[in-house]
Amino acid sequence: MAKRIDVHDLDIFYGDFKAVEGVSMTVEPRSVTAFIGPSGCGKSTVLRTLNRMHEVIPGGRVSGKVLLDDQDLYAPSMDPVAVRRTVGMVFQRPNPFPTMSIKDNVAAGLRLNGVKDKKKVDEVVESSLKGANLWNEVKDRLDKPGAGLSGGQQQRLCIARAIAVSPQVLLMDEPCSALDPISTLAIEDLINELKARYTIVIVTHNMQQAARVSDQTAFFNLKATGQPGRLVEVGATQKIFSNPDEQATEDYISGRFG
């Protein structure tokens, strides 16, 4: 059920400003792809175009193609709401809905899309929380507010919420940057497990994390200050971290800049 993503000549704009230029790459199903690069180079922006969240920002638009299997996400007939149901997203800061309990948070995607069947919702809540390795910690307090959990638990709650709508692809925008090392480890383990079922794309500032969790790594950089960001190199993680083709990649990875 996981899907392949093909990006062709993607340019991304904020109003008249071209933020990212000429991205082309392929993400294989059931694999983890990491986006690395210095701040402001457009990693998150590219990630957000993969489920049409970029256009939520006023003035946000793209040109080029993003194919999910063989469907162009930006074809005029596509419904962005349906796209987002297929391509889930986890954000940088854990953002559980403050008005909802743990259970309601996980069930939100289903309920707000009109699923009323209580039994089914309960099943999905349990399986999603188990899938996010959170079930054992919260099973006795499902009715407590989601905002009362620790940061790491909240982030896993958000992952459970994202997988509850059974997406094909899971996008993660620096999911561990607000977490401590132990919670980070828990999320990384979880990514390794989720990989069996989903196509995962993760943005990270932590190169060790990219090396640990990903099969494929894409390095983004700015051409120059004020210029649009671009994809410098994409390849197997092992190759990118040991023997990249581009000098810029090597410099970044070895810590010579960035």
Partner: protein, 306 residues
């Protein structure tokens, strides 16, 4: 040898360290004290009229509120020479008109705020926002005369309580729009994005995520707006003349309110009437106070759990 020379040299190469961390510089301490004095002075100055008003209304009108008839009887058949009767007709009128005003202005105000915060882009939003600003600045007497011109002069209707509520609605909409707008803006964008990312349509996100998160703030804003509108007098004087008897019909005849009762009886020189002025004033303050308390209380009942 080397350790000895190093130990001797080190203190002179490092810059002098202030080890005494006690005591504040005289000037900073003086500025701090001066600022404190000014702030307290300003606070006390602002309290003087408040306390003065509260104490004099309590002293002069407090005894009126203690009698049961104040809350149950109207002034029907009672002249200004006579002690007795109550303010029930005015209390009832004020509450009724406030309720109708709320029913008309809350939906319009809240929906306008939702439009401005969630949907409004481009020229129309700017125009709407500008219009709300203008409406905020409209003096109540102008709103009242506008409704008079529309209701009485143009349409040829009678001056009825409903016309008053129209003018009050005109005054209340902008305050609701502004306060609701502020509350909606406080809802973090991350929550909206989290909802969109689950494939939830925008309208559903607003109804199920944004509004519940901002709910208590919106209610507080509405009640505070209502409290303000209850004390408005100009529309009442122009569109809703005083009457001494109870009234229930919004579309027929006259209806008393607390501000018009105050305005009516204050012109009398006789003690029973003056007592009623103070009593009505205190009742109005009390109603507004209760609404404020209710607003805060409902604010605690927020759906945002922690």
């Amino acid at each position: 040898m080397s350790t000895l020379t190093q130990a001797a040299v080190e203190p002179s190469t490092t810059p002098p360290v202030h080890t005494d961390l006690t005591g504040m510089s005289g000037r900073r301490a003086f500025t701090d004290r001066a600022a404190r004095v000014v702030m307290w002075g300003a606070f006390l100055l602002a309290c003087i009229p408040l306390v003065w008003i509260l104490v004099s209304t309590l002293v002069k009108g407090g005894h009126m509120l203690l009698s049961g008839s104040w809350w149950s009887l109207s002034q029907n058949g009672i002249t200004s020479r006579v002690v007795g009767g109550g303010a029930a007709h005015a209390i009832q009128g004020t509450l009724m008109q406030a309720a109708v005003t709320a029913i008309m202005s809350v939906p319009i105000g809240v929906l306008t705020a939702i439009y401005l915060v969630e949907y409004g882009r481009g020229r129309l939003a700017k125009v709407v926002s500008f219009m709300v600003d203008i409406l905020t600045g409209v003096p109540s007497i102008v709103a009242a005369l506008f409704i008079y011109a529309l209701w009485v002069t143009t349409f040829g209707f009678q001056r009825v309580p409903f016309a008053v509520t129209l003018a009050l609605t005109l005054l209340m909409i902008p305050t609701i729009v502004r306060s609701t707008e502020e509350m909606l803006k406080l809802v973090p964008n991350e929550l909206r994005e989290a909802s969109y990312a689950l494939g939830v349509p925008k309208w559903r996100t607003i109804v199920s995520i944004v509004l519940p998160t901002a709910f208590s703030g919106i209610v507080t804003g509405v009640l505070l707006g209502l409290a303000r509108v209850m004390g408005e007098t100009a529309p009442l004087i122009i569109l809703g003349p005083y009457t001494k008897s109870m009234a229930h019909d919004l579309f027929n005849g006259l209806m008393a309110t607390l501000p018009t009762m105050i305005n009516q009886d204050r012109t009398e020189a006789l003690q029973p009437a003056l007592d009623r002025v103070w009593g009505a004033a205190l009742t109005l303050i009390l109603l507004v106070f209760v609404l404020n308390l209710l607003g805060r209380f409902l604010g605690r009942f927020s759906k945002v759990k922690n």
